[in-house]
């Protein structure tokens, strides 16, 4: 369980990057929280800096798009999913429970 930030510090449309190994991106997509691996499965780019639209995040480098709910890419150039992680709020603090290597993969 990793505390991320206070809920009010992650308003809708915003994202935050956790310096875990590998790093994790946490998003507030219109009020719903999601966490996925931060590094695009295509090439080295931080998805927490991507363009958030609904439940999709577009990679800031080559415009690959991922579904935050499943981690699956919705278009090229990404072809592999990113892992998803559990997010929950406790006492007003956002937490992430990292998936194990086997979990969290939609593939």
């Amino acid at each position: 369980m990793i505390p991320v930030c206070r809920l009010e510090d992650l308003p809708a449309g915003e994202s935050v990057r956790l310096d875990t190994t590998p790093p994790v991106a946490v998003f507030n997509a219109d009020g719903e929280l999601f966490a996925i691996d931060d590094t695009c499965s295509h090439q080295d780019a931080s998805l927490s800096q991507g363009w958030l639209e609904g439940c999709l995040v577009e990679c800031p480098l080559h415009a690959a798009s991922f579904d935050l709910r499943t981690g699956r890419p919705t278009c090229l150039p990404a072809r592999r999913p990113v892992r998803t992680h559990q997010v929950y709020v406790e006492d007003g603090v956002v937490h992430v429970r990292l998936a194990t290597a086997e979990e969290g993969s939609a593939a």
Partner: protein
């Protein structure tokens, strides 16, 4: 709906098993072409991604497997015939037959030209230790020389390939000097103000930049000729084929067949001698159009196409680095991935029904920083820093916008991916609006000469 001519085309040949070639093959199937699909590739490799070659592949951060653009499963679904390690030699007068270097002739109802560009080289005898960086084989050869302890590396050309290669060489612990003939690297692309900022990355990263001085030649160790006399290898500093359009890659001998000695130094036009164990020549690329010389296609710094990637023959389209689309030839990864959808649509329609006007976009990773640029900068545009500061390179970066009469023309970011993305989207939306309102204006703007 399936285009009416998709069924009439029985064979489509894609020449170039490249990023653009693969995307074209995918689009052909996605848009309903179910006939024979042939992909011809000069290199022996399945399509791979080139951008990492000067970055992670060189430093060892990524391996060859990660360069692959498609897996066996996808290729099986594409149901294409891959003719790899095979060069196209000619396109016949009607644009209906692709002739291969082994003499085979591929009768084709449609042709997609995706032959890319080839790295320009310095003239002169080949010397070992001298490299270009364009293909996987180039990168393998260069990498092999960089893993045996510190070397003196001289990079000729401070464009993106040169800068990224220099950065990778510094990461690997080499002594790196970058030589650039222009007084300021990348000035034509970024404008003087921002180019000056980016030039500072070299020094910050630990490489020496020597700008405003050309390369007179390369010095090499003595080699023994068949007559037994000793000669010194020298190469003149003019880029081969720089004055010619569409230089065939066959005009220069590959470095591997070197008959000279090993490179020892780079001689500058002011007489200075830079000792070198390894030289990387990054002086641009020429579109691979040599094989089309006898065809009816119009060639001028690439294959001339209309706004929809259609050549002078309606059943022949061109995409990627080799294509000059609506007057603009952009050697950009993004163009190679965005043009094929439109090109294939027009090919299957038998005429231009859609224009491909992607907003130019490129990125470069140098010395731990990421540079991103989008838009069409023009000479005389003003530059405004809207976020961060260029004085603090590497400490948060900056976002700069280029403006012409108050209207935003381009955007440049250093380590500011998120605001860059927003600004890039704004430019794309504005370009679409203008294309709708002033179609002619947008087409004229697209006819500006290519800057890269």
């Amino acid at each position: 709906m399936r285009p009416p001519t998709a069924g009439r085309m029985r064979t489509v040949t894609v020449v170039g098993a490249s990023l653009a070639g693969l995307y074209a093959a995918r689009e052909l199937r996605a848009q309903g072409f179910d006939g024979r699909l042939v992909v011809v590739g000069a290199e022996p490799h399945q399509p791979y991604d080139r951008p990492p070659l000067s970055k992670g592949f060189l430093t060892g951060a990524c391996d060859e497997g990660q360069l692959a653009l498609s897996e066996a499963e996808e290729r099986a679904e594409l149901d294409a015939e891959w003719m790899l390690g095979t060069r196209a030699r000619a396109l016949d007068a009607r644009g209906r037959t692709v002739v291969l270097d082994d003499g085979r002739a591929l009768a084709s109802d449609g042709v997609v030209i995706a032959t890319g560009a080839s790295a320009r080289r310095l003239r002169g005898p080949a010397l070992t230790g001298v490299h270009t960086l364009r293909t996987l084989d180039d990168a393998r050869a260069l990498r092999a020389e960089l893993v045996h302890g510190p070397r003196r590396v001289v990079i000729v050309g401070a464009g993106f390939i040169g800068a990224e290669t220099a950065s990778s060489c510094v990461t690997l612990g080499h002594d790196v000097t970058v030589v650039e003939a222009a007084p300021l690297p990348l000035a034509a692309t970024l404008g003087a103000e921002m180019a000056s900022v980016c030039a500072g990355l070299h020094a910050r990263g630990g490489a020496r930049l020597v700008a405003g001085v050309g390369v007179a030649g390369l010095r090499g160790t003595a080699r023994r000729t068949s007559e037994g006399t000793e000669l010194h290898g020298t190469a003149r500093g003019t880029p081969e084929g720089a004055e010619l359009h569409g230089t065939s890659p066959n005009t220069s001998a590959p470095h591997a067949s070197s008959s000279g000695g090993a490179v020892t130094a780079v001689e500058l036009s002011d007489g200075r001698l830079l000792p070198a164990d390894v030289v990387v020549v990054g002086i641009g690329a020429a579109p691979r159009t040599g094989w089309l010389a006898g065809s009816p296609l119009a060639l001028d710094d690439g294959v001339l196409c209309d706004d929809g990637c259609v050549t002078t023959l309606p059943q022949v389209v061109a995409v990627g680095d080799v294509a000059r689309v609506g007057g603009l030839r952009a050697e950009h990864w993004t163009s190679a991935t965005e043009q094929p959808r439109v090109a294939v649509r027009n090919l299957l329609a038998g005429r231009t029904v859609e224009a491909a006007r992607p907003l130019p976009y490129f990125w470069s990773d140098q010395y731990g920083s990421r540079l991103q640029f989008a838009g069409r900068r023009r000479e005389g545009d003003t530059v405004r820093i809207v976020e961060g500061s260029p004085d603090a390179l590497g400490e948060g970066g900056f976002l700069a916008v280029y403006e012409h009469r108050g209207r935003r023309t381009a955007v440049l970011a250093l380590d500011r991916a998120r605001p860059f993305m927003k600004a890039r989207r704004g430019l794309m939306a504005a370009a679409e609006d203008r294309a709708g309102e002033y179609g002619e204006y947008a087409r004229d703007a697209a006819r500006e000469p290519a800057r890269m």
